[in-house]
Symmetry: C2
Subunit: 291 residues, 2 copies
Amino acid sequence: MLGAIEAGGTKFVCAVGDETGKIIDRIQIPTTVPEETMSEVFQFFNKYPIEAIGIGSFGPIDVNVESPTYGFITSTPKLAWKDYPFVQAIKEAFSVPVGFNTDVNAAALGEVTFGAAKGLDSCLYITIGTGIGAGAIVQGKLLQGLSHPEMGHTFIRRHANDSYQGKCPYHQDCFEGLAAGPAIEERWGEKGNSLVERDDVWNLEGYYIAQALMQYILILSPKKIILGGGVMNQKQVFTYIYKYLPELINHYVFLPELSDYIVSPGLGDHAGITGSLLLAYQALQSEYQPQ
Amino acid sequence: MLGAIEAGGTKFVCAVGDETGKIIDRIQIPTTVPEETMSEVFQFFNKYPIEAIGIGSFGPIDVNVESPTYGFITSTPKLAWKDYPFVQAIKEAFSVPVGFNTDVNAAALGEVTFGAAKGLDSCLYITIGTGIGAGAIVQGKLLQGLSHPEMGHTFIRRHANDSYQGKCPYHQDCFEGLAAGPAIEERWGEKGNSLVERDDVWNLEGYYIAQALMQYILILSPKKIILGGGVMNQKQVFTYIYKYLPELINHYVFLPELSDYIVSPGLGDHAGITGSLLLAYQALQSEYQPQ
């Protein structure tokens, strides 16, 4: 039996299941401080004969196995979790192999295995919600280089009619700073949920997302693009993305049929937790087949 | 013995050598029309007992082996070469395995095997010259998804003091449109070679390159960045890149020591032809070890 943790900034989802994506039990725990949240995590997994645990975590996190801070949540603005040794804490509690990656990489793994990108060796999973993050599968493997990608902070160009200054504490008007949920709320004075009927809101949002997708396509050339997260529950945004992206690319690179290329998660809200189960399975496999 | 072709928009370099990067003979041929240029290519290789040929080509090219136009140069503005079946022409002439990829991917392969990124499993090779292109090695393999990357056309933000309109026929003021050699010449009224003493020229150039590198780092997280091409012979540009990049990233992601992270090609002008020899070797290997 495998354990999975989808560690988000507002809630943790824990599940037990298997490598086929089957989930046997599942709970949600509010993300407060590590002592509190993790004690509930331990309690949940203690009920099951867990062989490995996979973690898809909010970040930034250290995923470099050669680093002294491997397995840590690093420079997060959620201060109680800053420098939290996530992998070490789980290993101490359960003495099982632990897989550790970003929440978005876990979701990308879930989607390429069982979801919208099933059967492909390449996909990009992007979440647009409280923040913007992305995970990628390249030639069958999770993209990782010097570190994990931080695609949400790519620069885009402000629309001529948009005077909102941007909300990113690091880059002000980067993609996340202009297009994540909190930016929508601050720009328009209301949460996105209350702006459903406002075409101008989603037109601008689609324009910004299309710009970011153009960068991702030119740089990574993914075979499928999956857009999740709270903001993407406003399905009307897709219409504007499909409108603006071809205008921006302007026939320079081949684009597949967009309604099939840029899609919602095939696993719905379960992409992250399913991918975390797969991270657990990968950790278990590599334990017995060291390279 | 292996053959290699570095097919550029102004010249072809052909070489024979081996998989250690050793070059035994080498010629340059002007890029005119296929009948003329390729007949010299055939003549050169006919002198040697070639077992395989690797091609690093200007593009865009079709690298999807399942496509009916695999091995073609596709939508190039060099009209004589548009829809030229490069791989097929070589196979018909020599009946040997042919490796085919972009010129910049070949250079990235050369650099990661024998050059500035030797020993790493990840690097990004960028050429800034008549155009801007990039090739990437990700987890030991050439990055390829739906197609090869076209990173030169990423959007960057115009500097407030730069009123030059940009030269890209597809995107006007994308990275290539603002920062490739022809843009430098048109903006300042002289070729870059004649502007060596003009700090303002290279300051602006470094600012634009730093913006593009920020996108590549956030999206790909390469372990080494190698900058080649004619424009990068102006080594003073590195100083400005090292200045602007950390300001743009603003501590959001970890950057290694920049003078060791962002460097000139370890193989100098031989990155592309060396990588093309390696493409030939890979083609030979995969011929005898089908997956």
